[in-house]
Amino acid sequence: MSLRVEAGDFFGFLGPNGAGKTTTINAIVGLAQKSAGRIALFGYDNATQWREARGLVGLAPQEFNFDRYLSIRDVLIYAAGYFGLRGPEIAERADMLLERFGLTSKSKVEYTRISGGQKRRLTLARALIHQPKLLILDEPTAGVDVELRLELWEWLKALNAEGLTVFLTTHYLEEAEALCKRIAIIRGGKILTEKPTRELIADGASLQDVFLELMREGQEAGV
Protein backbone atom coordinates (compact mmCIF):
# COMPACT_ATOMS: atom_id res chain seq x y z
CA MET A 1 0.00 0.00 0.00
CA SER A 2 1.34 3.41 -0.95
CA LEU A 3 -0.45 6.48 0.31
CA ARG A 4 0.32 10.16 0.62
CA VAL A 5 -1.79 12.59 2.64
CA GLU A 6 -1.10 16.28 2.10
CA ALA A 7 -0.75 18.60 5.09
CA GLY A 8 -4.05 20.31 5.84
CA ASP A 9 -6.08 17.62 4.06
CA PHE A 10 -9.20 15.95 5.41
CA PHE A 11 -8.52 12.42 4.26
CA GLY A 12 -11.07 9.61 4.34
CA PHE A 13 -9.79 6.06 4.61
CA LEU A 14 -12.67 3.71 3.90
CA GLY A 15 -13.13 -0.01 3.56
CA PRO A 16 -15.17 -2.95 4.79
CA ASN A 17 -14.52 -4.69 8.10
CA GLY A 18 -11.15 -6.42 8.05
CA ALA A 19 -9.85 -4.33 5.15
CA GLY A 20 -6.89 -3.12 7.18
CA LYS A 21 -7.99 0.38 8.23
CA THR A 22 -7.21 0.03 11.94
CA THR A 23 -4.03 -1.95 11.16
CA THR A 24 -2.89 0.93 8.95
CA ILE A 25 -3.65 3.42 11.71
CA ASN A 26 -1.83 1.26 14.24
CA ALA A 27 1.19 1.12 11.95
CA ILE A 28 1.15 4.92 11.60
CA VAL A 29 1.00 5.60 15.34
CA GLY A 30 3.35 2.78 16.29
CA LEU A 31 0.86 0.39 17.85
CA ALA A 32 1.58 -2.17 15.14
CA GLN A 33 5.00 -3.24 14.01
CA LYS A 34 5.74 -3.17 10.31
CA SER A 35 7.45 -6.12 8.69
CA ALA A 36 8.34 -3.98 5.68
CA GLY A 37 7.83 -0.54 4.20
CA ARG A 38 8.22 3.00 5.48
CA ILE A 39 5.89 5.52 7.07
CA ALA A 40 6.89 9.17 7.27
CA LEU A 41 4.96 11.80 9.20
CA PHE A 42 5.74 15.35 8.11
CA GLY A 43 9.11 14.05 6.94
CA TYR A 44 9.91 12.07 10.09
CA ASP A 45 10.32 8.32 9.71
CA ASN A 46 8.07 6.76 12.35
CA ALA A 47 10.57 3.95 13.00
CA THR A 48 13.87 5.81 13.18
CA GLN A 49 12.60 9.28 14.19
CA TRP A 50 9.72 7.96 16.27
CA ARG A 51 9.94 10.60 18.97
CA GLU A 52 9.45 13.49 16.54
CA ALA A 53 6.88 11.55 14.49
CA ARG A 54 4.71 10.52 17.46
CA GLY A 55 4.75 14.03 18.88
CA LEU A 56 2.97 15.28 15.77
CA VAL A 57 0.10 12.81 15.87
CA GLY A 58 -3.08 12.75 17.93
CA LEU A 59 -5.02 9.49 17.94
CA ALA A 60 -8.71 9.16 18.72
CA PRO A 61 -9.15 5.38 18.82
CA GLN A 62 -12.40 3.58 18.18
CA GLU A 63 -12.49 1.99 21.62
CA PHE A 64 -12.34 3.99 24.83
CA ASN A 65 -9.00 3.43 26.52
CA PHE A 66 -8.93 6.01 29.29
CA ASP A 67 -7.08 5.61 32.54
CA ARG A 68 -9.74 4.61 35.04
CA TYR A 69 -7.92 6.15 37.98
CA LEU A 70 -7.90 9.70 36.62
CA SER A 71 -10.52 12.43 36.52
CA ILE A 72 -11.65 13.73 33.12
CA ARG A 73 -9.41 16.80 33.44
CA ASP A 74 -6.47 14.69 34.57
CA VAL A 75 -6.95 12.38 31.57
CA LEU A 76 -5.97 15.40 29.46
CA ILE A 77 -3.23 16.67 31.77
CA TYR A 78 -1.56 13.25 32.03
CA ALA A 79 -1.88 12.63 28.28
CA ALA A 80 -0.04 15.91 27.71
CA GLY A 81 2.57 14.79 30.24
CA TYR A 82 3.24 11.60 28.30
CA PHE A 83 3.89 13.84 25.29
CA GLY A 84 6.45 15.74 27.34
CA LEU A 85 4.26 18.78 28.06
CA ARG A 86 3.36 20.32 31.39
CA GLY A 87 2.84 23.67 33.05
CA PRO A 88 0.09 26.25 33.36
CA GLU A 89 -0.40 26.48 29.60
CA ILE A 90 -1.29 22.78 29.48
CA ALA A 91 -3.80 23.24 32.29
CA GLU A 92 -5.28 26.17 30.37
CA ARG A 93 -5.43 24.12 27.16
CA ALA A 94 -7.10 21.25 29.02
CA ASP A 95 -9.71 23.66 30.39
CA MET A 96 -10.19 25.16 26.93
CA LEU A 97 -10.73 21.71 25.37
CA LEU A 98 -13.11 20.69 28.15
CA GLU A 99 -15.05 23.87 27.46
CA ARG A 100 -14.95 23.37 23.70
CA PHE A 101 -16.26 19.81 23.97
CA GLY A 102 -18.84 20.61 26.64
CA LEU A 103 -17.14 18.62 29.41
CA THR A 104 -16.32 21.35 31.93
CA SER A 105 -19.06 20.30 34.35
CA LYS A 106 -17.63 16.74 34.34
CA SER A 107 -13.96 17.70 34.72
CA LYS A 108 -13.60 16.21 38.22
CA VAL A 109 -15.40 12.91 37.70
CA GLU A 110 -13.87 9.65 36.49
CA TYR A 111 -14.56 8.56 32.94
CA THR A 112 -16.67 5.62 34.05
CA ARG A 113 -19.27 8.15 35.21
CA ILE A 114 -19.83 9.92 31.90
CA SER A 115 -22.04 8.95 28.97
CA GLY A 116 -20.89 7.33 25.73
CA GLY A 117 -21.21 10.62 23.86
CA GLN A 118 -19.15 12.42 26.48
CA LYS A 119 -16.51 9.68 26.27
CA ARG A 120 -16.40 10.17 22.51
CA ARG A 121 -15.84 13.91 23.02
CA LEU A 122 -13.18 13.22 25.64
CA THR A 123 -11.38 10.96 23.14
CA LEU A 124 -11.19 13.89 20.74
CA ALA A 125 -10.10 16.34 23.45
CA ARG A 126 -7.32 13.98 24.55
CA ALA A 127 -6.11 13.52 20.98
CA LEU A 128 -5.80 17.31 20.67
CA ILE A 129 -4.20 18.15 24.03
CA HIS A 130 -0.64 18.21 22.68
CA GLN A 131 -1.60 20.27 19.61
CA PRO A 132 -0.82 17.62 17.00
CA LYS A 133 -0.43 18.44 13.32
CA LEU A 134 -2.21 15.23 12.32
CA LEU A 135 -5.41 13.99 13.92
CA ILE A 136 -6.22 10.33 13.31
CA LEU A 137 -9.83 9.38 13.91
CA ASP A 138 -10.82 5.72 13.99
CA GLU A 139 -14.61 5.57 13.74
CA PRO A 140 -15.08 8.81 15.72
CA THR A 141 -18.86 8.76 15.55
CA ALA A 142 -19.46 5.05 16.15
CA GLY A 143 -22.34 4.62 18.56
CA VAL A 144 -23.21 8.29 18.98
CA ASP A 145 -26.63 9.83 18.34
CA VAL A 146 -27.39 11.97 15.29
CA GLU A 147 -27.25 15.21 17.22
CA LEU A 148 -23.78 14.59 18.59
CA ARG A 149 -22.61 13.23 15.26
CA LEU A 150 -23.52 16.50 13.54
CA GLU A 151 -21.90 18.41 16.39
CA LEU A 152 -18.71 16.37 16.00
CA TRP A 153 -18.75 17.03 12.26
CA GLU A 154 -18.80 20.77 12.90
CA TRP A 155 -15.91 20.50 15.35
CA LEU A 156 -13.89 18.42 12.91
CA LYS A 157 -14.54 20.83 10.06
CA ALA A 158 -13.48 23.73 12.26
CA LEU A 159 -10.30 21.94 13.34
CA ASN A 160 -9.43 21.19 9.71
CA ALA A 161 -10.14 24.79 8.77
CA GLU A 162 -7.63 25.81 11.47
CA GLY A 163 -4.99 23.84 9.54
CA LEU A 164 -5.10 20.46 11.26
CA THR A 165 -4.62 17.49 8.95
CA VAL A 166 -7.32 14.89 9.59
CA PHE A 167 -7.16 11.19 8.72
CA LEU A 168 -10.58 9.61 9.17
CA THR A 169 -11.85 6.06 9.01
CA THR A 170 -15.56 5.52 9.18
CA HIS A 171 -18.26 3.11 8.13
CA TYR A 172 -20.67 6.01 7.66
CA LEU A 173 -20.19 6.89 4.01
CA GLU A 174 -22.32 10.03 4.27
CA GLU A 175 -19.89 11.17 6.97
CA ALA A 176 -16.91 10.71 4.66
CA GLU A 177 -18.80 12.41 1.85
CA ALA A 178 -19.65 15.39 4.07
CA LEU A 179 -16.22 15.83 5.63
CA CYS A 180 -13.43 14.46 3.45
CA LYS A 181 -11.66 16.34 0.69
CA ARG A 182 -9.96 13.20 -0.52
CA ILE A 183 -10.87 9.54 -0.07
CA ALA A 184 -9.07 6.22 -0.37
CA ILE A 185 -11.07 3.00 -0.45
CA ILE A 186 -9.25 -0.18 0.52
CA ARG A 187 -10.01 -3.87 0.57
CA GLY A 188 -7.80 -6.73 1.71
CA GLY A 189 -5.01 -4.29 2.52
CA LYS A 190 -4.94 -2.89 -1.02
CA ILE A 191 -6.03 0.52 -2.22
CA LEU A 192 -8.80 0.19 -4.78
CA THR A 193 -9.08 3.89 -5.46
CA GLU A 194 -7.81 7.19 -4.13
CA LYS A 195 -9.28 10.44 -5.42
CA PRO A 196 -10.63 13.80 -4.38
CA THR A 197 -14.16 13.24 -3.07
CA ARG A 198 -15.63 15.43 -5.81
CA GLU A 199 -14.05 13.28 -8.53
CA LEU A 200 -15.13 10.08 -6.86
CA ILE A 201 -18.79 11.06 -7.00
CA ALA A 202 -18.52 13.23 -10.10
CA ASP A 203 -21.14 11.50 -12.24
CA GLY A 204 -23.95 11.96 -9.74
CA ALA A 205 -23.44 8.61 -8.02
CA SER A 206 -23.46 8.55 -4.22
CA LEU A 207 -20.35 7.50 -2.34
CA GLN A 208 -22.26 4.40 -1.27
CA ASP A 209 -22.82 3.40 -4.94
CA VAL A 210 -19.13 3.95 -5.71
CA PHE A 211 -18.08 2.01 -2.61
CA LEU A 212 -20.33 -0.98 -3.38
CA GLU A 213 -19.23 -1.06 -7.01
CA LEU A 214 -15.57 -1.07 -5.98
CA MET A 215 -16.22 -3.84 -3.46
CA ARG A 216 -17.90 -5.92 -6.17
CA GLU A 217 -15.01 -5.35 -8.58
CA GLY A 218 -12.51 -6.09 -5.83
CA GLN A 219 -14.24 -9.35 -5.00
CA GLU A 220 -14.27 -10.39 -8.69
CA ALA A 221 -10.59 -9.55 -8.97
CA GLY A 222 -9.90 -11.69 -5.89
CA VAL A 223 -8.74 -8.75 -3.71
Partner: protein
Protein backbone atom coordinates in the same frame (compact mmCIF):
# COMPACT_ATOMS: atom_id res chain seq x y z
CA UNK B 1 14.85 11.91 26.87
CA UNK B 2 11.19 12.54 27.73
CA UNK B 3 11.66 13.28 31.43
CA UNK B 4 8.22 14.89 31.72
CA UNK B 5 6.64 11.69 30.34
CA UNK B 6 8.66 9.59 32.76
CA UNK B 7 7.65 11.67 35.83
CA UNK B 8 4.05 11.78 34.63
CA UNK B 9 4.00 7.99 34.64
CA UNK B 10 5.61 7.90 38.11
CA UNK B 11 2.92 10.31 39.37
CA UNK B 12 0.21 8.24 37.70
CA UNK B 13 1.44 5.11 39.49
CA UNK B 14 1.31 6.94 42.83
CA UNK B 15 -2.19 8.22 42.08
CA UNK B 16 -3.21 4.66 41.30
CA UNK B 17 -1.75 3.41 44.61
CA UNK B 18 -3.60 6.10 46.55
CA UNK B 19 -6.87 5.32 44.73
CA UNK B 20 -6.65 1.70 45.84
CA UNK B 21 -5.12 2.43 49.24
CA UNK B 22 -7.38 -0.08 51.01
CA UNK B 23 -6.12 -2.76 48.67
CA UNK B 24 -2.42 -1.99 48.53
CA UNK B 25 -1.25 0.09 51.50
CA UNK B 26 -3.31 -0.90 54.56
CA UNK B 27 -3.37 -4.71 54.07
CA UNK B 28 0.43 -5.10 54.36
CA UNK B 29 0.41 -2.89 57.45
CA UNK B 30 -2.40 -4.88 59.10
CA UNK B 31 -0.76 -8.19 58.14
CA UNK B 32 2.53 -7.03 59.63
CA UNK B 33 0.79 -5.95 62.83
CA UNK B 34 -0.75 -9.41 63.13
CA UNK B 35 2.58 -11.15 62.53
CA UNK B 36 4.23 -8.96 65.16
CA UNK B 37 1.52 -9.63 67.74
CA UNK B 38 1.11 -13.35 67.12
CA UNK B 39 4.61 -14.51 66.18
CA UNK B 40 6.68 -11.72 67.68
CA UNK B 41 5.03 -10.97 70.97
CA UNK B 42 2.97 -14.09 71.79
CA UNK B 43 5.10 -16.97 70.49
CA UNK B 44 8.34 -14.97 70.38
CA UNK B 45 8.32 -14.49 74.13
CA UNK B 46 9.32 -18.18 74.41
CA UNK B 47 12.46 -17.56 72.33
CA UNK B 48 15.43 -15.99 74.09
CA UNK B 49 17.26 -13.86 71.51
CA UNK B 50 18.15 -14.22 67.83
CA UNK B 51 21.22 -12.45 66.41
CA UNK B 52 21.42 -10.53 69.66
CA UNK B 53 17.89 -9.08 69.55
CA UNK B 54 14.45 -10.20 70.73
CA UNK B 55 12.51 -12.42 68.34
CA UNK B 56 9.99 -9.62 67.71
CA UNK B 57 12.83 -7.26 66.76
CA UNK B 58 14.37 -10.01 64.62
CA UNK B 59 11.05 -10.42 62.80
CA UNK B 60 10.61 -6.78 61.71
CA UNK B 61 13.23 -6.63 58.90
CA UNK B 62 11.97 -9.94 57.49
CA UNK B 63 8.41 -8.62 57.47
CA UNK B 64 9.51 -5.39 55.79
CA UNK B 65 11.29 -7.35 53.07
CA UNK B 66 8.26 -9.59 52.60
CA UNK B 67 6.00 -6.58 52.05
CA UNK B 68 8.51 -4.78 49.81
CA UNK B 69 8.68 -7.88 47.61
CA UNK B 70 4.89 -8.36 47.50
CA UNK B 71 4.19 -4.68 46.95
CA UNK B 72 6.76 -4.23 44.18
CA UNK B 73 5.69 -7.32 42.27
CA UNK B 74 1.99 -6.61 42.77
CA UNK B 75 2.18 -2.95 41.78
CA UNK B 76 3.99 -3.47 38.51
CA UNK B 77 2.29 -6.69 37.43
CA UNK B 78 -1.26 -5.53 38.11
CA UNK B 79 -0.79 -1.97 36.83
CA UNK B 80 0.74 -3.11 33.55
CA UNK B 81 -1.68 -5.99 33.06
CA UNK B 82 -4.63 -3.72 33.81
CA UNK B 83 -3.27 -1.23 31.28
CA UNK B 84 -3.11 -4.00 28.67
CA UNK B 85 -6.52 -5.34 29.62
CA UNK B 86 -8.19 -1.89 29.47
CA UNK B 87 -6.02 -0.78 26.51
CA UNK B 88 -5.00 2.33 28.48
CA UNK B 89 -1.38 1.27 27.94
CA UNK B 90 -1.86 2.58 24.40
CA UNK B 91 -1.64 6.11 25.82
CA UNK B 92 2.01 5.41 26.61
CA UNK B 93 2.70 3.51 23.41
CA UNK B 94 1.54 6.28 21.07
CA UNK B 95 3.40 8.93 23.09
CA UNK B 96 7.05 9.75 22.44
CA UNK B 97 8.24 7.57 25.32
CA UNK B 98 11.03 5.02 25.05
CA UNK B 99 11.03 1.55 26.62
CA UNK B 100 13.44 2.90 29.23
CA UNK B 101 11.10 5.74 30.17
CA UNK B 102 8.09 3.43 30.36
CA UNK B 103 9.83 0.72 32.38
CA UNK B 104 11.52 3.38 34.52
CA UNK B 105 8.20 5.10 35.23
CA UNK B 106 6.58 1.89 36.42
CA UNK B 107 9.62 0.84 38.47
CA UNK B 108 10.12 4.22 40.18
CA UNK B 109 6.39 4.42 40.96
CA UNK B 110 6.61 0.98 42.49
CA UNK B 111 9.79 1.91 44.35
CA UNK B 112 8.03 4.91 45.92
CA UNK B 113 5.18 2.67 47.08
CA UNK B 114 7.66 0.12 48.47
CA UNK B 115 9.44 2.86 50.46
CA UNK B 116 6.12 4.14 51.77
CA UNK B 117 5.11 0.69 53.00
CA UNK B 118 8.59 -0.04 54.36
CA UNK B 119 8.55 3.32 56.14
CA UNK B 120 5.21 2.65 57.78
CA UNK B 121 6.29 -0.81 58.96
CA UNK B 122 9.59 0.62 60.21
CA UNK B 123 7.67 3.13 62.33
CA UNK B 124 5.48 0.30 63.64
CA UNK B 125 8.60 -1.69 64.48
CA UNK B 126 10.12 1.25 66.36
CA UNK B 127 6.92 1.97 68.28
CA UNK B 128 5.85 -1.60 69.06
CA UNK B 129 9.05 -3.56 69.61
CA UNK B 130 11.79 -0.89 69.55
CA UNK B 131 13.34 -2.34 66.40
CA UNK B 132 15.47 0.49 64.99
CA UNK B 133 17.65 0.16 61.89
CA UNK B 134 21.32 0.60 62.73
CA UNK B 135 22.57 1.15 59.19
CA UNK B 136 20.17 3.39 57.27
CA UNK B 137 22.25 3.35 54.09
CA UNK B 138 22.15 -0.44 53.90
CA UNK B 139 18.45 -0.30 54.85
CA UNK B 140 17.62 2.04 51.93
CA UNK B 141 19.93 0.32 49.43
CA UNK B 142 18.49 -3.14 50.00
CA UNK B 143 14.89 -1.91 49.79
CA UNK B 144 15.70 -0.10 46.53
CA UNK B 145 17.49 -3.02 44.89
CA UNK B 146 14.92 -5.60 45.98
CA UNK B 147 12.06 -3.36 44.87
CA UNK B 148 13.67 -2.86 41.46
CA UNK B 149 14.17 -6.63 41.07
CA UNK B 150 10.58 -7.53 41.93
CA UNK B 151 9.14 -4.58 40.00
CA UNK B 152 10.96 -5.83 36.91
CA UNK B 153 9.63 -9.35 37.53
CA UNK B 154 6.16 -7.84 37.98
CA UNK B 155 6.43 -6.08 34.64
CA UNK B 156 7.55 -9.32 32.99
CA UNK B 157 4.58 -11.23 34.33
CA UNK B 158 2.26 -8.28 33.63
CA UNK B 159 3.36 -8.56 30.01
CA UNK B 160 3.18 -12.33 29.73
CA UNK B 161 -0.14 -12.81 31.55
CA UNK B 162 -3.23 -13.50 29.47
CA UNK B 163 -5.62 -13.13 32.39
CA UNK B 164 -5.46 -11.72 35.93
CA UNK B 165 -5.11 -15.23 37.29
CA UNK B 166 -1.71 -15.61 35.61
CA UNK B 167 -0.05 -12.80 37.52
CA UNK B 168 -0.78 -14.63 40.77
CA UNK B 169 1.12 -17.72 39.62
CA UNK B 170 4.55 -16.34 40.52
CA UNK B 171 3.29 -15.02 43.86
CA UNK B 172 1.52 -18.20 44.90
CA UNK B 173 3.97 -20.80 43.70
CA UNK B 174 7.31 -19.04 43.90
CA UNK B 175 7.52 -15.74 45.81
CA UNK B 176 5.44 -16.60 48.88
CA UNK B 177 7.01 -20.03 49.52
CA UNK B 178 10.54 -18.74 48.92
CA UNK B 179 9.89 -15.74 51.16
CA UNK B 180 8.60 -17.91 54.01
CA UNK B 181 11.57 -20.26 53.81
CA UNK B 182 13.97 -17.42 52.97
CA UNK B 183 14.41 -16.19 56.51
CA UNK B 184 11.44 -13.99 57.37
CA UNK B 185 10.77 -15.99 60.54
CA UNK B 186 14.05 -17.79 61.03
CA UNK B 187 17.76 -17.21 60.96
CA UNK B 188 19.83 -19.44 58.69
CA UNK B 189 21.76 -20.49 61.80
CA UNK B 190 18.56 -22.02 63.20
CA UNK B 191 18.31 -24.40 60.22
CA UNK B 192 19.95 -27.84 59.88
CA UNK B 193 23.20 -27.61 57.81
CA UNK B 194 21.71 -29.33 54.72
CA UNK B 195 18.86 -26.79 54.60
CA UNK B 196 21.34 -23.94 54.91
CA UNK B 197 22.91 -25.08 51.64
CA UNK B 198 19.46 -25.12 50.07
CA UNK B 199 18.93 -21.52 51.21
CA UNK B 200 21.85 -20.42 49.05
CA UNK B 201 19.73 -21.27 45.98
CA UNK B 202 16.88 -19.12 47.24
CA UNK B 203 17.30 -15.55 45.93
CA UNK B 204 14.96 -14.17 48.58
CA UNK B 205 17.28 -15.47 51.28
CA UNK B 206 19.95 -13.02 50.08
CA UNK B 207 17.54 -10.08 50.25
CA UNK B 208 16.39 -10.81 53.79
CA UNK B 209 19.86 -11.71 55.03
CA UNK B 210 21.37 -8.43 53.78
CA UNK B 211 18.42 -6.37 54.98
CA UNK B 212 18.42 -7.87 58.47
CA UNK B 213 22.04 -6.81 58.83
CA UNK B 214 20.87 -3.19 58.63
CA UNK B 215 18.99 -3.87 61.89
CA UNK B 216 21.07 -6.38 63.82
CA UNK B 217 24.53 -5.80 62.38
CA UNK B 218 24.75 -9.57 61.78
CA UNK B 219 24.13 -11.68 58.71
CA UNK B 220 24.76 -15.22 57.54
CA UNK B 221 26.69 -14.00 54.49
CA UNK B 222 28.80 -10.84 54.12
CA UNK B 223 26.29 -8.26 52.82
CA UNK B 224 28.41 -7.47 49.78
CA UNK B 225 27.76 -11.02 48.45
CA UNK B 226 24.04 -10.79 49.05
CA UNK B 227 23.79 -7.32 47.52
CA UNK B 228 25.88 -8.38 44.53
CA UNK B 229 23.60 -11.38 43.96
CA UNK B 230 20.44 -9.23 44.11
CA UNK B 231 21.96 -6.47 41.93
CA UNK B 232 22.90 -9.11 39.34
CA UNK B 233 19.38 -10.56 39.36
CA UNK B 234 17.83 -7.08 39.16
CA UNK B 235 20.09 -6.14 36.23
CA UNK B 236 19.13 -9.30 34.35
CA UNK B 237 15.41 -8.81 35.09
CA UNK B 238 15.56 -5.16 33.98
CA UNK B 239 17.43 -6.04 30.80
CA UNK B 240 14.84 -8.69 29.94
CA UNK B 241 11.86 -6.43 30.61
CA UNK B 242 13.43 -3.54 28.69
CA UNK B 243 13.89 -5.86 25.76
CA UNK B 244 10.28 -7.06 26.04
CA UNK B 245 8.87 -3.53 26.13
CA UNK B 246 11.31 -2.33 23.47
CA UNK B 247 10.25 -5.03 21.04
CA UNK B 248 6.60 -4.44 21.91
CA UNK B 249 6.07 -7.93 23.31
CA UNK B 250 2.29 -8.32 23.77
CA UNK B 251 1.99 -4.53 23.54
CA UNK B 252 2.29 -3.76 19.85
CA UNK B 253 0.56 -6.09 17.39
Amino acid sequence: MNSVGFWTLVRRELVRSMKVINQVIWPPIITTLLYVFIFGLALGSRIQTVQGVTYAQFLIPGLIMQQVIDSSYGECSSSLFQGRFMNSIQELLVAPMSALEIVGGFVVGSLARAFLIAGLITVLGIVLVHAVPQNWLLFACVIAIVSILFSALGLMFGLMAEKFDHIAILTTFVITPLTFVGGVFTSATMLPPQLRTFELFNPIFYTIDAFRRSYTGESYLPPIYSIAAVVLLAAVALAVVLRMVGTGYKLRV
